[in-house]
């Protein structure tokens, strides 16, 4: 059964993807209709599913529950806004998210079929890992998701060559290292960090909005570091 949602000042919409009788939890497309609306912390919009989905087997590679999906999409939308639907509907097939050992993997459905042959404890990774859920069910976005965030990023920050190394070591970006920043960046907005050669280096959170960035002194932090590509060397172990 498909569920309809009541949005403030919006016509309730059916999920366009599960018009057929699919179980809701298998349809991760539900959110995309929600996010078509302007972004509101849409906490209250989800209806709970049958109890079966609440029984979480941590070992099995399973689709995300609604809450998990919500948490993750919230996090993603900080960086790419409503472009999440572009992640799901791609020209080369439908992609979906699956949870395995507390990590969220982004894979095409064709790969999903092949992966079911492999027993759960032997499966290490499928497709691309986007991030993991912590013990308290918070979603932490990993650097491995950068390839998918970067093309759809709404707010970007460019770092000067001199400050690249510092950022790649895990430090925050200071005003002196800031090359460019997109206009209308709000404070605490999720941003993707690029080098001046347009090579994505990681992502972070803007500490100040664009206006303030111009005024503030050179030694103050303008972008908080969240993840950078240097982690491939520094934190190789935690990627798996």
């Amino acid at each position: 059964m498909c569920h309809s949602f009541a949005l403030t000042a919006h016509v309730p919409q059916l999920c366009t993807h599960c018009a057929c009788a699919t179980v809701l939890r298998q349809c991760s497309h539900v959110l995309y209709t929600v996010l078509a609306a302007p972004l509101i912390p849409c906490v209250s919009l989800f209806l709970s599913i049958s109890a079966g989905s609440l029984i979480i087997n941590l070992v099995i590679m399973r689709p995300l529950t609604d809450e998990e999906t919500k948490t993750m999409f919230e996090k993603l939308s900080k960086y790419i806004g409503e472009n999440i639907k572009l992640l799901i509907d791609r020209p080369d097939g439908t992609y979906c998210f699956r949870l395995h050992h507390d990590r969220v993997y982004y894979i095409s459905e064709k790969m999903l079929k092949m992966a079911t042959n492999i027993s759960r404890d032997k499966l290490v990774s499928v497709g691309t890992c986007f991030g993991k859920f912590t013990k308290t069910q918070k979603f932490r976005l990993h650097i491995t998701a950068l390839d998918f965030l970067a093309p759809y990023a709404k707010y970007k920050v460019w770092v000067k060559p001199g400050a690249e190394q510092s950022y790649l070591y895990g430090n925050h970006i200071m005003k002196s290292g800031l090359g460019r920043i997109t206009e209308n960046t709000a404070q605490y907005q999720g941003v993707v960090v690029y080098s001046m050669a347009d090579v994505p280096l990681g992502f972070g959170v803007a500490a100040k909005n664009t206006q303030e960035c111009r005024k503030v002194d050179p030694m103050s932090i303008v972008v908080f570091h969240q993840a950078d590509v240097g982690e491939y060397i520094r934190c190789e172990d935690t990627l798996t």
Binding site: K110, M111, K122, L123, V126, D147, Y232, D237, T240
Partner: protein, 759 residues
């Protein structure tokens, strides 16, 4: 007074010719003798030095006219030649052949120009050598081991000088004053010189050199007493090195240079112990290497293992292009070149001011640090877009990511590795390089056909002894012994069978398996591939790599299938990459050839189970022993057969399965392979059925029956299948053995007669 230089000769050496003063023999000689030579030269080294003196004069003389054109040759030595050379050197990238061409050009030109002057120059140099020799006679060199050999040019020089000047005593007096680089110890020198004088009058200088060699340059084996001394006080490395060279030289011209009464084996054993000491190998490995390479090539190989191969990287074409990457790295201060004509993605790093493994481009996944030899198996496999590919031993992920970039992130790649720790690096590399079509799992490769099958292509980079990558891991020199090699070979055989069974022969685009190792041992390479050819329906196909040495088709007492020539071997000393072996196999049928005895049993279940080959180490022996009940089951034999066969097939080795359709083909195969296979199976029969003679006999019956009926129609097969027991014992034993010895054959005959009479 001593050295007389013909003023008409233009001594073109270095700047300031006019100001040039005779600086003494040492410095003069240093220009003629290359720095590579040690003080004590073997006979071959002397020959080489002589040749070098002939050649080196030419380039020196050439360069000067090129620079200043102040020479008389400037008229016809045009600058165009120089430009051509320069253009050639700049245009080509790093191919060795290009440099060789240049050298050839140089030599040709030099030969044209300096034909006449060379001889005189040689004479001059000969003078120096002659001087050296004379003076050195007075001095005694240490020379702990064998007698030292003279320089050929020295002898020539001496003779020439004597001819020209006829004032030997005066020369010697004067030459004694000169510094002496060369160490001569032999009293024979005096005798040789007298001989030389006589010979010179009659023969050419070259001939006399050869004669002198025979007379003079004898490498004497150290006797027992000398060996004992060496054990107490080991020789210094340099003398060992010299002795190795001398030994190799003697062995290559054994009939001419051998000592009377000394066998070749003595020379060989001395050489082996010397090389073990000098290069720090254990005797087992050194023995193996001596079997693989001729002696001179062996020395090259060992030398190549002492130095590192150049650092190479592979461009990640999913994210960037090679020229863009090269440009970005050059901007960072890296000195690099394209790898060669055979690779479009490889770059070799000469030196770098930044750490290559930590540049922002590396972190962004634009390239991967990878050995040049690791590019070869993936190039041979050439996975196409949209295929399903398996990499059975994928850590640290270089080949997997290369395959993914060739497939443009389409299709699916299963990256498997048996070690969970090393899989972390695979995960890291896959994510860093932006590969999205991969599934990473942690199975033992031998289990793979059970987990999944039907791959279009499979890559097996088998774990090996690592004898090809000694430069990376010198511990291999001392730690490998026979059991290691045998263990590796056994594992590799199991893995290659598992890999073959995972390939889908009916794949539209593929059906290929590439087997590769970073080892140079024949036991791990050709033997394993040959084993696979015998055990499965696969054939070797060309790898597509046009360089590299062909694999062996025979080695010592082993004989391999002639198609082994299609495999490729790579060596550090000849290709400047890690030792490697690549073989590309095509599977042309999904059926698994069984031994002739097992043919009939496997008719029915064979069809069901062909795609899922079970190739685990046989558990036959256990169930076989548990169920020896052949005689009791008659009516339900067929049904139980199928059940049991299905069970046994799942447990037993792959030899059991034969699709009924393909039976004729299989049968014909079996008939052809009767000879050697029968012997093997017979032996296996003996081993397995030691405990149960009855089952053994029954199996023999069955196998005999099978053999006879193999020529009959399928109806005959059914009868035989009825006859053959459904016991797991029988089937499993039969699976292993389709052949028997004479006695067994006879007993089978008797049994058959009884059966036939009984029926």
């Amino acid at each position: 007074m001593g050295r007389k230089i013909d003023p008409t000769n233009k001594v073109k050496r270095g700047p300031g010719r006019k100001a040039r003063k005779q600086k003494g023999a040492e410095t003069e000689l240093a220009k003629f003798i290359t720095d590579d030579e040690p003080k004590k030269l073997s006979s071959r080294a002397k020959k080489r030095a002589f040749k070098r003196t002939q050649v080196t004069v030419k380039p020196k003389e050439e360069k000067q006219p090129k620079k200043g054109f102040s020479d008389e040759n400037s008229e016809w030595l045009t600058p165009a030649k120089r430009k051509r050379k320069l253009e050639q050197s700049e245009g080509d990238e790093d191919s060795d052949s290009q440099w060789e061409d240049e050298e050839d050009l140089d030599e040709e030109e030099k030969e044209e120009v300096e034909a006449n002057e060379d001889e005189d120059d040689d004479g001059d140099m000969v003078d120096d050598y002659g001087a050296m020799e004379d003076s050195s006679e007075a001095e005694e060199a240490e020379g702990a081991d064998s007698e030292e050999e003279e320089l050929l040019p020295i002898e020539r020089a001496a003779r020439k000088q004597k001819k020209m000047q006829k004032a030997t005593t005066q020369e010697e007096d004067e030459d004694d004053d000169d510094d002496d680089e060369e160490e001569e110890e032999d009293e024979e020198d005096d005798d040789e010189e007298s001989e030389d004088e006589k010979m010179d009058d009659k023969e050419d200088e070259d001939d006399t050199i050869q004669m002198n060699l025979d007379g003079v340059d004898k490498f004497k084996l150290p006797g027992a007493s000398e060996r004992e001394k060496e054990e107490l006080v080991p020789l210094d490395l340099q003398s060992i090195h010299q002795r190795i060279k001398d030994n190799v030289d003697v062995l290559s011209h054994f009939s001419e240079k051998r000592e009377e009464g000394k066998e070749r084996t003595e020379y060989l054993s001395l050489l082996k112990s010397d090389m073990c000491t000098y290069y720090s190998y254990n005797p087992f490995l050194m023995g193996k290497l001596m079997d693989l390479f001729p002696h001179s090539e062996l020395v090259d190989f060992l030398e190549a293992n002492e130095i590192q191969r150049p650092v190479t990287i592979r461009t990640n074409t999913l994210k960037t292009r090679r020229r863009d990457l090269a440009q970005a790295l050059i901007n960072r201060g890296v000195n690099l070149d394209p790898l060669g004509k055979w690779s479009k993605v490889g770059l070799v790093i000469f030196d770098s001011s930044v750490p290559i493994g930590a540049t922002p481009e590396y972190l962004a996944g634009h390239y991967m640090l990878q050995g040049a030899s690791s590019l070869l198996p993936v190039m041979a496999l050439s996975p196409q877009e949209g295929e399903t590919v398996l990499d059975m031993s994928s850590a640290p992920g270089g080949k997997t990511t290369y395959m993914a970039q060739l497939m443009r992130n389409t299709g699916v790649i299963i990256a498997n590795d048996a070690s969970a720790d090393r899989l972390k690096s695979v995960v890291g590399n896959i994510h860093r390089l932006g590969v999205t079509n991969s599934i990473i799992c942690n199975y033992d490769g031998r289990q793979f056909p059970k987990v999944m099958g039907g791959f279009d292509r499979v890559l097996l980079d088998a774990p090996c002894s690592g004898t090809g990558v000694i430069s990376k891991d010198p511990a291999v020199k001392t730690s490998k012994d026979d059991s290691d090699i045998q263990r590796s070979a056994h594992l590799q055989k199991e893995l290659i069978l598992a890999a073959i069974d995972s390939v889908n022969a009916e794949s539209q685009t593929g059906g290929y398996l590439v087997y590769c190792t970073c080892s140079i041992m024949v036991e791990e390479n050709e033997w394993v591939v040959d084993y696979a050819l015998k055990k499965r329906n696969v054939k070797l196909v060309p790898t597509g790599l046009d360089f590299g040495k062909e694999g062996f088709t025979r080695f010592k007492e082993k004989r391999f299938h002639p198609s082994l020539k299609l495999t490729r071997r790579f060596y550090p000393h000849s290709h400047n990459m890690d030792g490697f072996f690549v073989a590309k196999l095509k599977k042309f049928s999904n059926t698994i050839p069984t031994a002739p005895a097992d043919q009939k049993e496997e008719e029915e279940p064979a069809e069901e189970e062909t795609p899922v080959a079970s190739e685990e180490p046989s558990k036959n022996s256990k169930p076989a022993k548990s169920k020896p009940q052949q005689k009791n089951k008659s009516p339900s034999q067929e049904k139980t057969e199928t059940k049991q066969t299905s069970k046994t097939i799942s447990d037993s080795k792959t030899t059991e399965k034969v699709v009924s359709k393909n039976k004729p083909a299989v049968k014909s195969k079996k008939l052809k392979d009767d000879g050697p296979k029968q012997k093997k199976i017979a032996r296996m029969d003996e081993e397995d059925s030691k405990q149960d003679k009855k089952t053994k006999e029954k199996l023999l019956k069955v196998s005999k029956v099978d053999e006879e009926t193999s020529k009959k129609s399928e109806a005959g097969k059914k009868e035989e299948s009825l006859l053959t027991k459904t016991n797991k014992n029988k089937k499993k034993l039969l699976q292993k053995k389709s052949r028997m010895g004479k006695n067994k054959f006879k007993t089978l005959k008797k049994m058959l007669k009884k059966q036939e009479s009984g029926l």
